[in-house]
């Protein structure tokens, strides 16, 4: 009995998996006699193919009934994809694209597995993008495509649409319409993209572009830091060489006096330690100051580390 139930369960599952992932498009259109009673659905793998006519893109087709009704099931993945529905005039090839005139022959739509898309063209009006609907993604797409037709739509509007879109595909399409972004706008786009699935095929170029712009900034920052580090190292190297060169101009007696001064002795103590007159020490100190380019003991302290290590080396 248990085996029979298992078999029955498996049989019930067959229609589900047998159909694969599908969406349904249905609609109604009234066309004059110059048009063929056919419709075609193309799957557009990238935004740059939205206005590409090719038989290879067509994934489903069918006939209109006498009242202009049509319906088709077509394969659709679990992620949203971009599609185009189009009609043709009598005598035209199946892959015909008419853009911008009263005879415009297509609309775009977004669909994923299980979606029900509806198309309804008003009589005596040309085909319009707003004729298609059936999901929130398509409402967002229609709003966006209306904005793209308007020359005055700027980057901020597209970014705002992308920010509000529940459909990642519509959001990415909005971002693809931006150009010449400011740093602030770039940052906003990056924030929007951080919420998106980075493996989503439609965003491949966009994700690459924004990841490149990040890398570019990283390399620039690294380059600037390296440049300043080299500059600092060069400056210190030059300064050290210059001090050592000056140091070597001192006589042995002057070097001894510097050593004593750096150990904290006063002129009088230096005179006692070296058994020379205080005035002689003062003359040596003045000569040392002149040679090392310093004006007091405090300045001499600045070279203490270098001179001390050099004294040790000698």
């Amino acid at each position: 009995m248990r085996r029979h139930n298992l078999l029955l369960g498996l049989l019930l599952l067959i229609p589900v998996y047998g159909n694969g992932q599908q969406a349904r498009l249905s609609g109604k259109i009234s066309l004059d006699t110059g048009w063929a009673r056919k419709f075609y659905v193309s799957r557009l793998p990238g935004f740059d193919q939205m206005f590409t006519a090719s038989r290879a893109l067509i994934i489903a087709e069918g006939d209109l009934d006498s009242a202009g009704n049509f319906s088709v099931d077509f394969s659709a993945g679990k992620d949203e994809s971009l599609y185009r529905l189009h009609f043709i005039r009598k005598g035209d090839p199946a892959s015909t694209l008419i853009i911008g005139s009263r005879d415009v022959n297509h609309v775009f739509f977004i669909a994923k597995d299980g979606d029900q898309i509806h198309f309804n063209k008003k009589q005596d009006l040309p085909i319009r993008q707003s004729d298609i609907g059936g999901s929130r993604a398509n409402s967002e797409l229609n709003t966006l495509l209306k904005l793209t037709d308007d020359d005055t739509t700027g980057n901020n509007t597209f970014i705002s649409v992308a920010d509000r879109s529940t459909s990642q595909l519509a959001g990415l399409l909005a971002i693809s319409h931006t150009a010449g972004l400011t740093d602030e706008q770039n940052e906003k786009v990056r924030r929007v993209l951080s919420r998106y699935d980075q493996h989503y095929a439609y965003g491949a170029n966009i994700f690459r572009e924004y990841s490149n712009s990040n890398e570019w900034k990283l390399y620039l920052t690294g380059g600037i830091l390296l440049f300043f580090a080299l500059l600092l190292y060069g400056y210190r190297f030059y300064r050290q060489r210059s001090i050592l060169k000056t140091w070597r101009e001192l006589s042995q007696r002057e070097m001894d006096i510097v050593g004593l001064i750096l150990s904290g002795k006063s002129n009088k103590e230096v005179a006692l330690a070296l058994s020379i007159e205080l005035s002689t020490v003062k003359t040596h100190v003045n000569n040392i100051y002149a040679k090392l380019g310093v004006s007091n003991r405090k300045d001499l302290d600045r070279y203490q580390e270098l001179i001390k290590s050099n004294v040790a080396n000698r």
Binding site: T52, S54, A56, A94, L97, I99, D151
Partner: protein, 128 residues
């Protein structure tokens, strides 16, 4: 009545001076890349372009770029590829009206690869 008609015609001619560029290309297994310069003065009202392409075999792409090289809306491409690796004809028609924001030399670009078919275009620069 005649005077009024003459006046209206003269007014129409004054209001919209259009500079038109027309052309036709017969493609025979052709591979080409051609840019047609379109001079756009400051204050130009619009660039209207009409393109009709019938492609028996190959690939064709059409685009309009502004003086900075940025693509304007309204380009399209055609190819005759089928999923099985064969060829089926394709057709494209475009009627676009672009309001040019940038004056200078715009370019109407045509690219064809191993293409056989016909290509007709007309570009009108409408001055105010």
């Amino acid at each position: 009545m005649k005077k009024l008609l003459f006046f209206l015609l003269a007014l129409g001619a004054m209001q919209a001076k259009a500079q038109a560029i027309k052309g036709s290309i017969t493609l025979k297994d052709s591979t080409l890349s051609r840019s047609i310069p379109v001079e756009v003065a400051a204050g130009t009202k619009s660039i209207k372009f009409t393109v009709k392409v019938y492609l028996a075999v190959g690939e064709v792409a059409v685009s309009l770029t502004d003086p900075n090289g940025k693509k304007a809306a309204g380009g399209f491409s055609l190819n005759t590829h089928t999923k099985g690796g064969g060829n089926e004809p394709s057709k494209g028609e475009l009627s676009a009206d672009e309001t040019p924001k940038v004056p200078g030399t715009w370019k109407f670009n045509i690219r064809a690869k191993d293409a056989t078919g016909t290509f007709n275009y007309q570009i009108e620069v409408v001055q105010p």
